[in-house]
Symmetry: C2
Subunit: 222 residues, 2 copies
DNA sequence: GGTTAGGAATGAGATATATCAGTTATCAGG
DNA sequence: CCTGATAACTGATATATCTCATTCCTAACC
């Protein structure tokens, strides 16, 4: 927990001198709940590795409009495209819980990727899952109507990506609405509707999926 | 033109035996206008390299609804995520013009990426631009209203990514609408409106941007 | 225990955009 | 040159969803 090189699976097979390379160009720090890890449009200078906690990655799409793209958890890299000549952050990220992060020097990471191709493949592979998630998001906001969007968001947040944890206690109704890409009020009304239909159970912020199959049906049919 | 290893910039610096590796596991073929390169949901078994022509990459979002994500041209890789354990195509692709393609064996490509890290970096870097494009698409369809969406689509299709060529002659109004994520009729009406306002010029399928600055303003303001 | 602030919830009204129905234009084939 | 088919275009209508205004609830704090 105290040391990112030891903790994260993808670092396991590195040689000592490779670990040393990373260690020499990194720093670990903690972001408190609500603090920004980075802001869309800002210079992107380091790669971030989440070690513990929960991070909301979002797209600022207007003065007071944002679309949530992804929740990052321990083991996820953020701002990875900095390695490939992207000077500016394309998204923003904020801590939903107190979050431990390992900041890694861009050049050191590049060097490591060049030196150890197997490592590079593993990392790239992991990052490609993000692209899938982006496509899913696109699918949702385009072709689904409100019910389907919300269903899709609920499924993502309660799915295999976050086993055990109850994600919802960290999310406001607005956050949820921004995942589904609907107005906050609309999200609230639909949640109630789903509850009435026995698809989910609401208790304060906690949301439990009662009838997952039905939710998946709604996701498909829009 | 006849040989993908010689033609594409990213292959230039490969050693002879590395080129040989690729050559031994590839085949070149031509898709005619309108033919599908691959379909969303199908098994993804090879990596495709576009050598000549224009390919429309899209997301099937309903029985008769599709969202266009990207135009691929010579030098672009498609279905690249096949390398990283994604068994199924996440998108569909169709040739907009007669298109020459180099199909490359997945395992051979993996081997090459592992053997030559510098090559891997170049490729990955290029592919990361796709992710940006996806974020742009998401931004557009979320926060912009129709005018902004269409403006954004027009800017992408007339922009630096496709120098020289007039892309629009290969696109139907429906294609265009699917890039902007609006109904075909709405796209047509707006095009006329833009023409009336002196922002673009329409002549059959050809569309020329008259006032790019204004279009960018519309894109920003929604 | 009362007060306040912020999120959650609810209903009425406004509106942008899709949908539908129908006309005109374009183009390939006979 | 005519004919059918396909795409481009146009206007009227319907409706899903956002917006706004207001109330309710909860939790924190003095």
């Amino acid at each position: 927990m105290d040391n990112c090189e030891k903790m994260v699976a993808c670092f396991r097979d590195l040689k000592p001198e490779e670990l040393e390379l990373i260690s020499s160009g990194k720093t670990e720090l903690t972001y408190l709940t609500g603090e920004n890890l980075f802001k869309q449009g800002a210079f992107s200078t380091h790669v971030l590795l989440v070690m513990d906690g929960l991070v909301k990655v979002y797209l600022q799409t207007g003065r007071d409009k944002q679309l949530n793209l992804q929740l990052a958890k321990a083991g996820d890299f953020l701002a990875f495209s900095a390695l490939f000549g992207e000077a500016l952050h394309a998204t923003s990220a904020v801590a939903l819980t107190d979050t431990q992060v390992c900041m890694i020097d861009k050049e050191k990471m590049r060097t490591l990727l060049l030196r150890n191709a197997e490592f590079a493949m593993r990392i790239t592979s992991r990052n490609y899952r993000n692209e899938r998630q982006l496509l899913t998001v696109i699918g949702n906001i385009t072709y689904k109507q409100m019910r389907g969007k919300l269903a899709s968001a609920l499924l993502y947040l309660s799915g295999d990506d976050f086993p055990g944890q109850d994600i919802f206690v960290h999310l406001s109704r607005q956050d949820l609405a921004n995942f589904a890409s609907v107005a906050t009020e609309s999200a609230i009304k639909l949640l109630k509707e789903f509850e009435r239909d026995g698809i989910i159970a609401l208790e304060g912020k906690e949301i439990s999926i009662v009838d997952r199959a039905e939710l998946e049906k709604i996701e498909r049919l829009g």
